[in-house]
Symmetry: C2
Subunit: 189 residues, 2 copies
């Protein structure tokens, strides 16, 4: 296809706008597919936890006919990178000034502390103010432990989290910062 | 409670018989609860993967009214031990002479290879002939790659897998062998 002067740029712009509407879960899933395809890391979204109430049989096949959504006590994504255990969750907030801690369940906080104690790599990917941030688990916990506020000010996130870049083909570049927080940069892994 | 001579031993015997009837999944789940409680490792069973077809609302609550069981492409259990990624599946066979490879889906085999490449610890716990064995992923793959048989002879399992011990309070001692296969024994982890 040949574009007249300026047209190509306009086309790119359209893609960027489209991406803005793409939900965070889709972006993470596409990122993880890219990482799997390129043999960089194996990260999966855990299946949605449900409580099954009733199973019926139709043409000798099991069909769930009643179930409810259970609340997760762990984070949504986990997997392996360079032998290390990775777990994270993706959270979006519409607030422009702070990230409400109500977004994270109490048992998820406990789980995050636990993963840190067992030397796993655990973090949040936060979508806020049209940007993506990787907030490392220990930075989240130290905020929670150091004060009583119910939300993390945007300034704390900008100062302590890593801003991620989105690429149309590769998704979010969060692996780059796992190299940093996992201590892989000065170590043969 | 006071037991007359010999009675206490008889009571223990009853527990052992009861355990024989306990299914493998319950034993693994209890083991993982013990490991979590004692702060040894964090291992969870992944939720059953399902495909949701229909969700209804009842009293403003979401209820799944139609869904089907999806086949898993990964293994059932994963988590973290000393920072390392752990993943495994539990398989039981009634055959006394060999473990049928049909028990493992083709995409699970591919996933096991992938975890090994990414330096994760991956294995099967096999229940067979009233014993429990931990077959390390690389030993499973080297069997599959070295010949064309559709099942693993019991002799191969006895020679290459680690026989696990079951304890009524602690469950299966599989962590002991993760220390061996994960190379933790001569290393500060």
């Amino acid at each position: 296809m040949n574009y007249p002067n300026g047209k190509k740029q306009e086309y790119k712009k359209v893609i960027n706008y489209a991406n803005r509407g793409m939900d965070l879960e889709s972006i993470i899933n596409e990122t993880n597919e890219y990482l799997l395809e390129k043999d960089i890391a194996i990260i999966y979204k855990k299946p949605t936890p449900i409580g099954i109430v009733k199973v019926s049989y139709e043409n000798n096949k099991e069909v769930i006919t009643r179930a409810y959504f259970a609340s997760p006590s762990t984070l949504d994504y986990n997997g392996v990178y360079k032998g290390k255990y990775i777990e994270f969750d993706a959270k979006k907030t519409e607030s422009r000034t702070s990230f409400p801690l109500a977004n994270i369940h109490e048992h998820q906080i406990k789980h995050i502390r636990n993963i840190i104690n067992h030397k796993g790599i655990v973090f949040l990917i936060i979508s806020m103010n049209e940007c993506y941030y990787l907030l490392n688990g220990p930075d989240l916990i130290s905020f929670i432990d150091s004060q009583t506020r119910k939300s993390i000010p945007y300034d704390y996130i900008k100062e302590n989290a890593y801003e991620l870049e989105y690429n149309y083909n590769k998704g979010l570049n969060y692996i780059k910062y796992i190299d940093v927080i996992g201590g892989f940069t000065n170590e043969e892994a």
